[in-house]
Symmetry: C2
Amino acid sequence: MEEPPGQTVVAESDGVIAGSAKMGPNRPGRGSHVATASFLVDPARQGQGTGRALGEYVLDWCRREGFTSIQFNAVVESNAPAVHLWQSLGFRIIGTVPESFDHPRHGLVGMHVMFRYL
Amino acid sequence: MEEPPGQTVVAESDGVIAGSAKMGPNRPGRGSHVATASFLVDPARQGQGTGRALGEYVLDWCRREGFTSIQFNAVVESNAPAVHLWQSLGFRIIGTVPESFDHPRHGLVGMHVMFRYL
């Protein structure tokens, strides 16, 4: 569970937890105006809008908390639905760290740093 | 102090600590083949090779420990000596997160993600 000033939330669907997100400052001190977040969605519930709902919640929360931007540090490049979801929510790819994730099926794939202003 | 499998080291000059570095995996699990490190140099001893000595030590240590690459997550872009040092040690800039560091003199400046294979 993310400690304050961050927080952890769950997405509920028919009384069942479909996913979760944690969010907070990406760095302490002089980098603490930039938020970050990470997400989990139940594999049985992929493609049903849980990630989008959590992402929209996170963006709202970050704005309310006064963050000026948000950064994802490690979006697996082979996870096209996630990359497209974040792009549709206004994120762009800052850069890709090559071969930084050892994917169980695809082998070594890159991870994107993604960013947007708030 | 960085916990194993990482470690923290100091650079000593004439019996005085001139700087320190900590190093270890950048991420757990499927990202743990990529190292990261961070550095501190005594401001009174800038420009005397302490950062370079620590950097070279870190690269050797990472190779010995079997990491396949190393990533710095947040190199302040206005810190030209640091950026040039890492470039001279084989790092390249993967991307720059804009306005992510609130510099006491320069205001909001970007931070580079830097990377090299080992």
